[in-house]
């Protein structure tokens, strides 16, 4: 997806033309990726994902279950994934908070799964029907303990589809929970898109062991850092635990076994940055002012950049799709060329902190924070662009 200049408007001729909501596109994407188990709990503004999957999963002999809470939903999708079935849950802020402990379990036990968080205003019950981008840091650090994570953020309805597929592929490839972080606008926005035909959707499945069961070492290090995953019932009997474990999966406190595990859990993500880090650049090559925006704010930013260009201002947009691991290299490159970086967010500044950290004084970083439950408008961003060129 990197390098594609403009994919808001889909020009491919193949596929099925549909009017879809972002949340519905997430549901469609999950099915295209092979998701056959969904457990969830109703919450605004994510409920449509549950509703669509409650209709479609049983048609495909999959399973939809509405659990008693979000903690149970997260537990159920981990259990389902351990049997080899691709699984997902979807929620919003309060539910995302409840899921955190079990998300950590999935990190530690390396169980592939996808968690969608359609962000609404917070903290606490906050603004259930309004957009926000306040959970960016929570998506990175929400569960306790030192861990790595993958967080992806779509800005268009088509991206909701593509990025959900990508989330499943990353989760299978790297045996890790992947978080799809949307905001209420992206979740509820309707756009006409082309749904790609199934043969055009790349689907990745987890690596399964090929050695005889008695040779299988479930948490053994490999060149990729990702061990093949035995499936419950397939003859590979092993122990899965949230405790720090040795290569056989058994609890350990030995420093020489603990350290390699934690380092491998990080390494399996960090050594694949080139694969995992995905973003879109729009007119950044000669840009003096670059807006760094994600989610629905990237849409406003694009409009603002176009208007600035019409006034012969060299403005550009960088839209990180992978929010975590943070796209350090790209931002460094952009910061070296540009004079000003503008980071509009529907929060008091979460990605802007990362931009400042990576920028290290190269360009001047301007923040634009909106926390009143409304979208950052193109005009607001344009104003900052104009200020930045004065």
């Amino acid at each position: 997806m990197t390098g594609r200049q403009d994919s808001d408007t889909v020009r491919e001729s193949k596929g099925r033309e549909v009017l879809l909501q972002g949340n519905e596109a997430v549901a469609e994407g999950s099915l295209a990726a092979g998701c056959r188990f969904f457990a969830g709990y109703p919450i605004t503004p994510a409920t449509e994902i549950s509703e669509v999957l409650s209709v479609k999963l049983p048609q495909l002999d999959g399973t939809f279950i509405q659990m008693e809470d979000e903690i149970a939903s997260m537990g159920a999708i981990i259990g389902a994934s351990l049997t080899g079935v691709k699984s997902m849950t979807a929620t919003s802020g309060p539910g995302f908070s409840l899921m955190q402990e079990n998300i950590g379990f999935a990190c530690m036990a390396e169980v592939p799964c996808v968690v969608v968080n359609v962000m609404r205003g917070g903290p606490s019950t906050g603004l259930p029907t309004s957009p926000s981008q306040g959970d960016v840091m929570q998506a990175r650090w929400g569960t306790h303990g030192d861990h790595s994570t993958i967080v992806l953020s779509p800005a268009t309805v088509r991206e909701c589809f593509d990025i959900t597929v990508m989330a499943f592929n990353f989760s299978e490839k790297y045996r890790t929970p992947v978080i799809v972080l949307m905001d209420e606008i992206v979740g509820h926005m309707r756009e006409k898109i082309l749904l790609p035909p199934p043969e055009d959707v790349t689907v990745v499945d987890r690596l399964q062991p090929t050695v005889p069961p008695e040779w299988y070492i479930p948490y053994e290090d490999t060149p990729t850092g990702v061990p093949p995953m035995g499936v419950f019932g397939s003859g590979y009997r092993y122990h899965v635990t949230g405790l720090t474990h040795d290569v056989r999966g058994f609890p350990t406190q030995r420093p020489d076994e603990v350290d390699p595990l934690i380092r491998r859990l990080f390494r399996k993500i960090t050594q694949h940055f080139d694969d995992i880090q995905v973003g879109k650049e729009f007119l950044t090559e000669d840009a003096q002012v670059v807006v760094i925006a994600y989610g629905s704010v990237a849409r406003s930013a694009k409009r603002a950049v176009k208007e600035a260009r019409a006034r012969e201002i060299r403005a550009g947009l960088f839209q990180p799709i992978t929010l975590w691991p943070f796209m350090r290299k790209t931002v460094e490159r952009i910061a070296t060329r540009a004079k000003t970086l503008i980071v509009p967010e529907m929060s008091m500044g979460q990605i802007s902190r990362e931009v400042k950290r990576v920028n290290e004084g190269r360009a001047s970083v301007v923040t634009l924070n909106r926390v009143d439950g409304n979208l950052v408008t193109p005009d607001e961003i344009l104003e900052k662009i104009l200020e930045g060129t004065r």
Binding site: I71, G75, A76, G79, A80, L82, T83, R237, H239, F250
Partner: protein, 281 residues
Amino acid sequence: MKESTRLIHKYLRHDKKFPHVWCPGCGIGILLGALIRAIDRVGLEKDEVVLISGIGCSSRLPVYVDFNTLHTTHGRALTFASGVKLANPSLNVIVVMGDGDAVAIGGNHLIHAARRNIDLTAVIINNAVYGMTGGQTSPTTPYGMKTTTAVYRNVEHAFRISELAVTAGAVFVGRGTVYHARLLDQLIEKAILKEGFGVVEVISHCHTQYGKLNRLGSAVDMMRSQKENAVSVEKAKKLDAQALEGKIITGVLVDKEQPVYREQYEKVRARAKGMVLAEDL
């Protein structure tokens, strides 16, 4: 002896470091034996058994046995188990929990798993205290007893786990004690064979924490009191509430037929594909 050697060789993990984590005299070892004997009697293949636990002393049980084993988060074992069973109904899913796991932090999951009637076997070992963390009050600590967080005595009333499971709709509920090991074998066997959500409550003791604080004596003394206080379900029917005060009612409390969740969900799948079921007409 020959029989137990066979069971040990067949079911215990040889690559796992023994000894186990439990205190000498703990009842969880007896439960482990009963569980293995029951699974052996039912004749399940090791590959088709998934043994799932939560957190606490009881949660360490799966690691020693050669099944597909899953040690989850505190109180959430039944949620993971629901996912496993629904995603692959051919697996035989057994969940081991303690009293804190099952009726404090995980109480909500217990009642909902029972209500849904997912085909799981929940074995709840109840020693009336949080043992692993050092003897704190649990929801099954009896009124007036001492714990490390109730040094001025517990002023809350205890949950009765089996009765709670009955009320929540479990189709099989049995209660035994670790003293009555043979009964325990039978109850677990019946619960595994039962189609639907089965609960076996296992009354146990924590002599190192709860017993010491309340001067209840050694593990042997506490097991003797299990023997003396046990009243079978049949006998209990003839006794009044006063006579049953402080007694442990053992045996099968409920054994009823009800369609399991999977069967119900097959109806959903059929309707989703446009079929019209007889009951919809």
